[in-house]
Subunit: 357 residues, 2 copies
Amino acid sequence: RSMATSARKSLTIGLIPADGIGREVIPAAREAILAVQSELPEVKFIDLLAGWETFTRTGAALPRETVQILKDECDCALFGSVSSPSRKVAGYSSPIVALRKELDLYANIRPVRSVSADPARPPAVDLIVVRENTECLYVKDENLIVTENGKEARATRLITERASSRIGKIAFELAKARARKLLTIIHKSNVLSVTDGLFRESVRAVPGLPGVDGKYDDVTIEEQLVDSAVYRLFREPQIFDVMVAPNLYGDIISDAAAALVGSLGVIPSINAGDAFVMGEPVHGSAPDIAGKGIANPVASIRSAALMLRHLGYVSAADKIDKAVNDTLAPATILTADLGGTHSTTQVTDHIMGLIKR
Amino acid sequence: RSMATSARKSLTIGLIPADGIGREVIPAAREAILAVQSELPEVKFIDLLAGWETFTRTGAALPRETVQILKDECDCALFGSVSSPSRKVAGYSSPIVALRKELDLYANIRPVRSVSADPARPPAVDLIVVRENTECLYVKDENLIVTENGKEARATRLITERASSRIGKIAFELAKARARKLLTIIHKSNVLSVTDGLFRESVRAVPGLPGVDGKYDDVTIEEQLVDSAVYRLFREPQIFDVMVAPNLYGDIISDAAAALVGSLGVIPSINAGDAFVMGEPVHGSAPDIAGKGIANPVASIRSAALMLRHLGYVSAADKIDKAVNDTLAPATILTADLGGTHSTTQVTDHIMGLIKR
Ligand SMILES: CC(C)[C@H](C(=O)O)[C@@H](O)C(=O)O
Ligand SMILES: CC(C)[C@H](C(=O)O)[C@@H](O)C(=O)O
């Protein structure tokens, strides 16, 4: 799946810090990429606007120019995090959801892995959430009517065979490349027999043997209802390897998995399509700590690595990931979310030092 | 909210064990009610059919007769758990979802509380999930079309002001009656601004001060996006007191909360409407252990107590709950889900012994 790297003479990366701590952690990701420059073609960065703050200033949460530059000039991008207003504001809607759709970044890939202090022992949690990124309730087809009995609102949940198959394919291939080769399909087809039924069947049909249980290409396929998946994730996370889910379940499942490894502040993701990839830390804009210089840069730095890996720059990604793991394992230089006292800059500098060593 | 008890000369309880371990744990709940008979009017039980096994035998997962008898002859009911087919089966749909709708049991109330071995210390987890029970994606309004690009399925998510207000009212009153008086509204209005926006605003409007932040009648009202609610539930469950959620989020949140206290096998619930109440353990039919006599009867026994409490039989409920807590706290007589080696019958007998002492 990774896009051919050989032809690329330069690598142009859009940077969209957006709101809150996004502005503190995206610069750290930028530094990490610069630190592995020798493994990459010539790197260029383009700073781009989006987010709630951009909306309040310009009236657009996702300026057309941002989308145009991403499409015309960038090979990939890094997105920070976005704040949302505490009440509905006319004209505002989430730029990250819009970006995923605009660039057809249909796969949200979120690896969640605990770092064990003892490198000889396997990590307690080691899974990947593969989240469908373009449909489900995220199509945002909503309406409101006023009846005799008060207001009634409806939203459409869309599940298509096409989107479910292509996300199933990505998940299946990720599972095939891993040691345990286990793919768990997350759904709620005991209630949503038509939509989640279609999701499940489309994913199962990927290996070419529709509807049959068992193994294909050594990949074991299992299923789990979303409520019980969250329960089991808490109780026995080791039963999961690759989980594939429709959009909203994937959103919830990936936050649940993040809670298992200490902090949302360490979980990276990429939003990947056939022609573009965008790294994005799983955490939000964290208004409570924004501007204090204490946000954890690890999720963003790892998102940069994940993005480079997806583009085929494996050795660059390996270097970044190793430096991050070598920082987390001894647990001496950590931000507050992990129980430490170090600043964003201190943690970033430490990781950069290890990369360059 | 509890229905007047004084007028009742007898208490007729429908028993619907349904499938799997439901058949092993509902008899335990029945025994618990019989053990507190002296606190109740004359008790009558009526055995009723529903579930997957009933469907395979009779063609109906929820026979009309079951609904009719519940409506005409029962004051309340206990439901066990239902199995679902691993693939869509024409004509089958979940009888528990249908029952909630048929009897307008609009509130699903799920208290989750850890039992601490040291009675002087407060429980680590002590919260109630109040789940809207009749709408959201559970209206099951789904359709499938075949297009040039393959199959497309759509489901409708319905949120009404009426249903959101009435569930908000129940949650608000539950919060008011508790020590911490904190109500957290769970939603995803950063994506679903219309439907979840309506849910949030309808709940907020309950105290009569629409849309204003702060406290009413000493109840503090907070909000939490569903993904971050699951994350925080894992990391700092003590921040929650009463959580109110639309149907699907409530389903997931209550399973997540259950994971915090050791086992789904101890979490009770009631499905309550203005005219009827039905107890239901939160766990499923657990086909893997069904028939082995090792299912945990605690969730069902507690569901019976919760149902009696809701009907106004407080001393009967207190007796049952105390016997359950006095069984769980020393942690000597436990089923396998809690790490014990005792059978359903042994645990039930022990609890009955404590009630009768
Ligand atoms: C900010 C929000 C729209 C977003 C989502 O729900 O997708 C976030 O929670 C995420 O997981 O990236
Ligand atoms: C069995 C299923 C339809 C049900 C639900 O989703 O409501 C169950 O998970 C529950 O929580 O009672």
